[in-house]
Every structure is written in structure tokens, then in C-alpha cells.
């Protein structure tokens, strides 16, 4: 076997091993969680909000709703901010400023989520409690913290998308007499839209999957929230919160929660992949 072939084989094996870990995870989660879903009935599991696993009630509706609301809240805050930031850095700032600012913003991604949660508990939660009411630990607190946490994802992928728009597009538009803002809005943004949508979807995946910071600031109550000041429990926090004490059916129910989360995140990723491929 030639050296070339050998290296190729080894790399192929390594690639397979990373894929197989994904496969193993999938099989494992489904094996552990499916029996409970089948026993409870998918309808009961998804459409009931009565969660008392040690007493035989396994309904995760409240958590699904909370996960969706927290994620939406984070998007409402994070996407416009992140996109504006990306536009400034990619289109309106001198290259040297961008060289400094972009890596700095990406540092945000390196801050461990427990630190975000800690800051949230220490000053965001008391602020909300004192000025807006409620216990402070709330949907709003979780959405605000997550909104900041997804910024690096939105910014760096959006910048990549904006940078990928060929320069002649801009030159052409300017040459036709458009202002810089008109160029960005009518030419650059539409050309970069699929990349920006990918950024948004990946950020959504990040937000829905975040656990530690959310446990710390969301209050984890099991009720379906009726106000943004209500405490909520997301799917991820449910798993992490009860993991340590769960055994038997309770443990299966947490795996089943994991299945739902897994499916949601896979769908988001699939959507991101399809959207980027279309163009």
C-alpha cells in the first residue's frame, strides 16, 4: 500500500469515528427514552403540562413552550443587535478597526456559560425584581442573558456571509449612483441573506440548547408562563436539574426530554443546511 493510500485510509477511519459517536449518541438516547414515550403515549408526553415524574406524570408541554419563548426572546434581542454589529464591521468600518473588533467580539463565545449565569443572578435578576416586579428569576432574565450569549454566533457568521459578497456587486451599485446604505440594503444584504439566515438558525440552536446559564436565571418553575416576568423551565434545564436524583422511569423521562430536544436541534440544523444549499 502506498503511503498516499495509507494516510487516506487513516483519515477516513478518523472521520468515521467522529460520525459513529454521533450515531452512538442518537441510538443511546432513543433506546433509553423511547420506552417511556411509547408507554405514556406521544400525545400525553407532548401535550400535557403535568410534570411529576416521581408520581407518574410525564408531561413536558410547559417546558416546550418555555424553551420556545426563551429562544424567541433571545432572538428578538440578539439578532438585530448582532446583525447591526456585523453590518458595521463588514461594511462601514475601516479594516483596521474590524481587525481589532471582530476577534474581541468572538471572545464573547469563549466565556463559559456559568459566568453569564452568575452575572445574571448577581445583577440582572435583582434589577428585574426591583424595577419590574416578580421574583426576578424569569423568562425575561433568561432571554436577555441568552440574547447576549448568541451575539458571537450571529455576528461572526453574518460577517462571513457579508464578506463573501463579491466586491464588484458593491462597485456596480455605487457606480449606478446608489449611496452606501442603499447598496448595503438593496444589494449586499439580499446577496448575503442565506448566510445570515444560517447565522440566525445556528444561534437559535445555541439558545435552545443552552443549559447552565438558563438554570441559574430562569427560576425553573413548571407552570406555562403567562407573563415575561414568570419563572420558566426549559427542556435543557429540566434534564440538568433533575439528573442527579433521577432513577428508573424518572431517568427515562429525562432521556425522553432529551429526544425532543435532539429532534428540535436536528430540525434546526437541517433547515440551516438546506437554506445554505439552495443558493
Amino acid at each position: 500500500m502506498s503511503r498516499e493510500k495509507f494516510v487516506e485510509r487513516v483519515l477516513f477511519l478518523l472521520a468515521l469515528s467522529s460520525l459513529s459517536s454521533l450515531l452512538l449518541i442518537t441510538v443511546f438516547i432513543f433506546l433509553e427514552g423511547m420506552p417511556l414515550i411509547i408507554e405514556t403515549g406521544l400525545g400525553n408526553f407532548l401535550a400535557s403540562s403535568h410534570w411529576a415524574p416521581t408520581k407518574g406524570h410525564f408531561g413536558i408541554l410547559a417546558m416546550i413552550i418555555s424553551s420556545v419563548l426563551v429562544t424567541l426572546g433571545a432572538m428578538v434581542l440578539g439578532v438585530p443587535l448582532g446583525l447591526a454589529c456585523a453590518l458595521v464591521l463588514a461594511e462601514f468600518s475601516p479594516p483596521r478597526l474590524k481587525m481589532v473588533l471582530k476577534p474581541t467580539l468572538e471572545l464573547l463565545a469563549g466565556i463559559p456559560s456559568v459566568v453569564y449565569g452568575f452575572l445574571g443572578v448577581l445583577w440582572l435578576v435583582p434589577l428585574i425584581r426591583d424595577y419590574l416586579g416578580g421574583p426576578g428569576l424569569s423568562l425575561l432574565a433568561a432571554a436577555l442573558i441568552l440574547g447576549i450569549m448568541i451575539l458571537p454566533t450571529v455576528i461572526s457568521i453574518s460577517i462571513d456571509a457579508l464578506d463573501a459578497v463579491p466586491g464588484p456587486y458593491r462597485d456596480g451599485s455605487i457606480a449606478l449612483g446608489a449611496t452606501q446604505w442603499q447598496t448595503v440594503r438593496r444589494v449586499v444584504l439580499p446577496a448575503a441573506s442565506s448566510g445570515i439566515i444560517t447565522a440566525v438558525i445556528l444561534a437559535m440552536g445555541r439558545a435552545i440548547g443552552e443549559t447552565m446559564a438558563v438554570i441559574m436565571v430562569a427560576g425553573n418553575a413548571l407552570k406555562i408562563p403567562t407573563s415575561i416576568l414568570d419563572p420558566v423551565r426549559t427542556l435543557t434545564s429540566n434534564i440538568a436539574l433533575e439528573l442527579g436524583y433521577a432513577s428508573g422511569r424518572h431517568r427515562e423521562a429525562l432521556f425522553a426530554t432529551g429526544i425532543v430536544l435532539f429532534v428540535i436541534i436536528m430540525l434546526l440544523n437541517l433547515a440551516a443546511t438546506l437554506l445554505t444549499r439552495r443558493k
Binding site: L22, I25, F28, I29, H50, W51, A52, P53, T54, K55, A62, A109, G110, P112, V114, V121, P126, R129, G134, P135, G136, L137, P152, T153, S156, I157, L202, A203, G205, R206, G209, E210, T211, M212, I215, N220, A221, L222, K223, P231, R233, T236, I239, A240, L241, E242, L243, G244, Y245, A246, S247, H250, R251, L254, G258, L261, F262, I265, L268, N269
Partner: protein, 292 residues
Amino acid sequence: MEYLSGTGRLKTRCVQAWGLHPRLMVFLPVLALLCGLVMLPAAGCGREASQQPPLCVAGSTSVQPFAEKLAEVYMHHFPHLRIDVQGGGSSAGIYATRQGAADLGASSRELVAAEKDLVEIPIAWDGIAVIVHAANPLTNLSLDDLRAIFAGKITDWRQLGQRPHAIHLITREEGSGTRNAFEELVMGKVEITPAALVQDSNGSVREIVANDPNALGYISVGLVDRRVKALSIDGVSPTREHLRQHSYKLVRRFLLVSRLPPRGPVKEFVDFVLSAKGQSLLEQEGLVGIAE
């Protein structure tokens, strides 16, 4: 000794600290989930090849600080033996003991029927204190009112004769030994309202109550400090005297469990815990000794 204080917090540490590329982050929850759940049945201590295998105590996070203290003092007196203390929860500790992954399980709840084949060694009584913010004027609560509050029937301090404001109720997560004991002692068949905030440790319940004038929660009496106020229940305050006489109603046992009647080093440690010295250590930490 340093090694010991580290092991207790190991679990918390594993949860933190990753700074990966954002694209990878999407897969992390799934990975984290897997790692976490794989860790669960493996609760217990790793066995390394050393001259003397360490003694492993795993279980309830309520018992953990006390077990750590006992182990620390014990190892100081008998340096030949190493004792690892781990958290993980009562159920996980009992499971690990049954599987042989831990020598002793620590439980803050009574064993259920299916676990009765294990040897149970009661080591102390612990009270559950109902706590409010230090500035809250309330000092006493009837057991019925307490039940009504946690059932979601009383939701405002006004109903208790206080300044009108919503009660911010805090409970522990499903499966916690403290919650389990609270449900048995206070709630009976009634379920705790889903509107209650849920925190996963005594410490974080105390932290919230210490900072929120309208909060009400429950923690182990041994962990009450100056920043929160423990209420009297039916006129009886959770003092050591009242816990000892069981006139304070919210009292539970801390147990050590083992698969077989303890022998050798395990027995030596258990004997130490039950000795006058061990019991007085537990008393110093705020529990009530079982011996009396």
C-alpha cells in the same frame, strides 16, 4: 485533605467551562446530556491502584457537607485510610451502593420498600427549616398555612396578615431528598404548585431567600445562617432542643446505607460516626445526634 474538599465539587466543575466554535455549540447540549446521563449510573468513586483502596461514600447533597467534615476529621486521626465523599443525590448514592460502586451510600430520605434489603445506619436527625428574608416580619406559620402556601392556595403575604405582595415560593427539584422529606412531612397527598420556583441545592434556595424580601423556601436546618430567618411552625421554633424532642414537626433522618453489614475499614468509619466524637462533630455542624 485538599484532595477531599476537591472531590465534592467535582461534579459542579464538570458542567462548566467550554469555549468552542459556535457551530459546535449546537451539538453540545446533546453531548452534555449524554455525558451527564452516562455519569449517573456510575456515581461512586473511581478505584485506582494504590496500596489501600479509598473508602467511598456517595449520595445525598444534604448529607455531603457533614460526611465531608466527618471524613476530614477521621482521616486526620487515621491517616492510613482515605475517604472519598461524593454527591449525586440520595437515589444515586443508594443505587451506587447496591452496585458496589460505593462502600456507603448517604441518604437524606427513608429507604423505600424496594431498598429495604440494604443495611441502614441512621446517623443523625436533621430539621427542615422554612426560611424567609431576614427583614420579613413573619415569625410563625401554622403547618396548615404552610401546606396551603406550597399547594398554591395562599399566594399573597396579605393572606398571612402581612403587607400585600405576591409570595415568591421556592422549592427543590423533583427527586431531591429534602423535597421528598418536605412532601412527606408537610404536604401529605397534596402536590406542590407548579408555579413555585425550583432550585437544585440548599445553597441556591438560601441565596435567593437571602436576597428577596418576598421569598419563602425550605432548607436543611444545619444550613440556616444569619442572612435568612427560620420560621416557627405551629409556634415551635427549629432549635436543637425542639428537634431533639421532635416537638418541631419537620424532622427527618440522615442515613448511611451499605449492601452488607459493614466490615473492616467501613465498619471502623461507621463506628467513628456513631461514636461520641463523631456525633458531637455532627452536633457542632447543626444536626442532632441519633444516639439520644
